[in-house]
Symmetry: C2
Subunit: 470 residues, 2 copies
């Protein structure tokens, strides 16, 4: 893999493709596109390109094959696994000019959108037409929908509505070799050949560059009920999660936050205050939604009955839009708040939801063994627990040598509980060398061979997803 700065000839040919206004060699721009939200990593590309069409990307990729230049697609730079880091330098390909919602199809409840549209912008645009795009990553205010597809992003509403993959019907993709294809059809059902669409979703920019996305939408819901439930015992909060589903309720959100997560966030953001008893160890934030308020109250009542089997403090029912917004602001800011507090590493563990208490207890025990503190929160309804390992006062040496052993043990635990490494953040750069925990050599070689089918010269987002040792 070529990692040195590109030749003058290559640069000049790239400039011809995108035009001089959209090719950047200056350090500031390269540094800006050299990081996402993954820890404190910075890997500046040699050159930043901002193409505006699938045809331009096709020309860039053909040239990249000719010169064997690594190409790293870059979205909203909110990734947590380092998928957008140009770890082998080369071309950093920003998708920000693909920023149009091409067609909201109110007849078929579909939208065709370019990948550089911010997720919240898409949500709001379809809502204006009475439609609902449910996937709701915490970074929705700045992440790109293309990045959501590439990472198979989830978020708080996945528990009822599914993740990004469940909404993607069809993708226009520029293959690493430069051909432009559609992966499927704009239909709700499809049994026509291998599912290239779902192979592309979650492939983290390693199999192709997505240039158009057709997604299904739902009719919007008109009502919801939101409650915040303080637990005196964290494990009990996790136990309550499976019990709620067992009672026949599917909440539209079921979020878990450890005490530290909520305390740190309350200090981090403005305008939200809560009166929490000292003995409270964790909270569940629970939402039910639908069109019939009576039904939602009845469901909230059933949930309350389940919760009363556990040691909880008084439940807070958000009784205004402002209060709902405040609670969601709190939940959405947790990641940033925890990270602002210390150097950290975040793991995106996921298990069948009933195993959550075992996972949480196991993580704390592993932390004790290796001497690290963790702050846990996440989408408990999906069994998806974000584990923030905070450096705090740990020595640099221990941080470097002990933490990877601890992380390995955490992942071994998730896999032993029938879970896996990542629920919604992807593997990218930072988790790739743990992939042997989830997959055998046979499985990893299958994936490597699939990558080879798409990208024979390994130019597209090299050094991601698959372990270095493979």
């Amino acid at each position: 893999m070529k990692t040195e700065i590109l030749s003058k000839e290559a640069i000049s040919r790239l400039e011809e493709i995108v035009g001089p206004s959209f090719l950047f060699l200056d350090e500031e721009t390269r540094n800006y596109y050299g990081h996402d939200e993954t820890e404190d990593y910075v890997f500046p590309p040699s050159v930043v390109l901002k193409p505006a069409s699938a045809e331009e990307i096709s020309a860039i990729l053909k040239l990249a094959n000719e010169y064997k230049i690594p190409v790293t697609p870059i979205g909203g730079k909110t990734g947590l696994s380092g998928g957008a880091l140009s770890i082998h330098q080369g071309i950093g390909l920003s998708m920000e000019r693909f920023n149009k919602i091409l067609h909201i199809d109110e007849q078929n409840l579909q939208v065709m959108v370019e990948p550089g549209v911010v997720t919240q912008t898409l949500q709001e645009a379809v809502l204006e037409k009475g439609l609902f795009y449910p996937p709701d990553p915490s970074s929705r205010g700045s992440c790109f929908i293309g990045g959501n597809v590439a990472e198979n992003a989830g978020g708080a509403r996945a528990v009822k509505y599914g993740v990004t993959k469940d909404y993607v019907l069809n993708l226009e993709v520029v293959l690493p070799t430069g051909e432009i294809i559609w992966t499927g059809a704009n239909t709700l059902k499809n049994s026509t050949g291998y599912n290239l669409t779902q192979l592309m979703v979650g492939s983290e920019g390693t199999l192709g560059i997505i240039t158009k996305i057709v997604m299904k939408l739902l009719p919007k819901n008109t009502h919801n009920v939101l409650m915040l439930v303080p637990f005196f015992n964290s494990s009990q909060a996790c136990e309550a999660v499976a019990k709620i589903f067992k009672a026949g309720i599917t909440p539209s959100a079921l979020e878990f936050m450890e005490r530290d997560a909520i305390d740190w966030t309350l200090r981090f953001i403005d305008g939200v205050s809560l009166n929490i008893k000292d003995e409270v160890q964790a909270h569940l934030l629970i939402e039910v939604d639908g069109n019939y308020p009576d039904v939602l109250f009845s469901e909230a009542e059933k949930i309350t009955e389940v919760l009363e089997q556990f040691a909880i403090d008084e439940i807070l029912f958000a009784d205004s839009e402002d209060q709902k917004n405040a609670l969601w602001k709190l939940r959405r800011a947790v990641a940033e708040a925890v990270k602002s507090n210390s150097v950290y590493k975040e793991e995106d563990t996921v298990v069948p939801r009933y195993e959550l208490p075992k996972l949480l207890e196991g993580i704390k025990a592993i932390g004790n063994k290796y001497g690290f503190k963790s702050v846990c929160y996440g989408h408990a309804g999906d069994g998806n627990l974000h584990v923030n390992i905070v450096k705090g006062n740990m020595s640099d040496q221990d941080w470097k040598t002990e933490i990877p052993k601890g992380i390995r043990e955490i992942f071994e635990l998730t896999v032993s509980l029938k879970g896996t490494l990542s629920g919604e953040h992807g593997i990218g750069y930072v988790q790739k060398n743990y992939m042997d925990i989830a997959f055998s050599q046979t499985q990893l070689l299958l994936m490597k061979n699939i990558k080879q089918c798409f990208d024979p010269n390994s130019i597209l987002n090299p050094g991601k997803v698959l372990p270095d040792s493979l």
Copy 2:
């Protein structure tokens, strides 16, 4: 590809693997396993094997690679695209002994099941635990759940609940080369490597043999409302479909039946009678489901308001379980009834649902051009229309030469409407040479290369899905 009868040595080694009671060479058995429900095709395998474990299948596949013997997996023999036909002879691998529901996990709302379990058996077993497996193919009384996964089967409830792929979390698969792998994890969310699970779903037994399936379940619904709506104009029935969704309702079933489909079925089955005016051209069968009867009545009322914009006769509301069962019996028997009436070919067209009227009108026009009659019915809520082309009095010569031209035009129409060839039946043997209508050479070669990654010697279900010319 070797098509002659297997060598004595190979037979004797296969017998060692499965045991003499589970290897069959007699003509009756080979003929029985030589057909499914696809037209009148019969392709008997050279030998029928009935293995009972992944390890036996692994040994069979390793041997098949050694001798280059084609292997065709066989499920419930209800397929409509010929996926289970041993078109190159070789080994017919019946999965019927994989007939156990291994674990209904009431805590995580999941089930682990072997592929040879009949879909209805699975539905009923989980229902006893208060759980719901929604995919509901019309053949549910005899099809295998493994075949549903292989074909990505849909059925009447897909419109609200999705298709088989939306329930598959993880698969144990014997790869064509004999390795046994799991494709993913037992989690609702997963962003860990390429989605091998979804690559396997719908791959029609060409990429591996599924030996265990982990599926998610939902809490069961307690109530539903079912109505049968007679339309005086078929196109209007199709138009009403998109309007119902536009009104914010997501029915749990929304089925379309042309007049002939319903008439032929009423003659074919016992115990169901309906009084249908002569002028009625088509029916919609509409179901809403949930836990709150008041909500369902209100939704049924909203649907009625939409329907009253069209020329309809009186709506029949099924007011007892018996009447509901009778209407579903009618709907489920349509395929068989239509097929019992004549030699036929069935196409499984799918388009975005708003395009249904154009599709229906186009199909009739193509029929007029080529001189064939078609009977159409299917899952209108998904835009999935089954087109039964009946031979009737057409000459054998025209049937052979004209019909393929007509089918090609029908598929060209579906693709021009942003649809595709198959919504839920798969491509298999009978549609493979139409794949060039939906996919370019680039896409088809990608699929071929993926197949090659999994099955370097092309021993597994050869001659399916991909066109002969590739």
